[in-house]
Symmetry: C2
Subunit: 123 residues, 2 copies
Amino acid sequence: MSISNLKFDEKGLIPAIIQDAETKEVLMMAYMNEESLRNTIRTGRTCFWSRSRQELWWKGESSGNIQEVEEIDYDCDGDTLLLKVKQTGGACHTGHKSCFYRGIKREKEAEKVFDPEEVYKKA
Amino acid sequence: MSISNLKFDEKGLIPAIIQDAETKEVLMMAYMNEESLRNTIRTGRTCFWSRSRQELWWKGESSGNIQEVEEIDYDCDGDTLLLKVKQTGGACHTGHKSCFYRGIKREKEAEKVFDPEEVYKKA
């Protein structure tokens, strides 16, 4: 499989699901363009495209909470990625391990694993 | 959390990651509009919006490979869903358990769990 066979959308983006390689918890979803995917493959650390800031975004750049990539899978249509990673700290900017810490059917939120005010003020 | 607080995109869609509740394997990603999400909550079975066919799509309608929903989580931004399900058969139309059966860094494809020619000709 070559990157050129993947289907990027009309904005040149492909959604990337990030999963903890060990616990299998789904940590977050973000978007990659071709450059950020190539950066990810080259360095072994996740790099995304920020749709709000319209720029490349290295995960953990501010927080230190990097993701080391163990596997990059793609789906049957070639239009979604699944990356299995080793997550330092927590993936979510709110201090939770996973961005999916709340549920429509859940009674309780997941607990925080770090204090975002402490972590992001270092940046 | 109310559905109206979720952020559907400019096409009225929200990506939904589907995860096996027991094995935690990520099975597929598809899109929901508000109606398909309400159908999913009401019936406890996944319903999506097909972007190619532009219609509601009940998962398992042709194949019998339905998904019974155990949990519906949403991420910190409220713009992505994570559904934990009990999957009958396989999630992928190719006969694989997961749509993510191939990888950029993998040597071997995952094995099929059903024969799609057999399953879909029933429809």
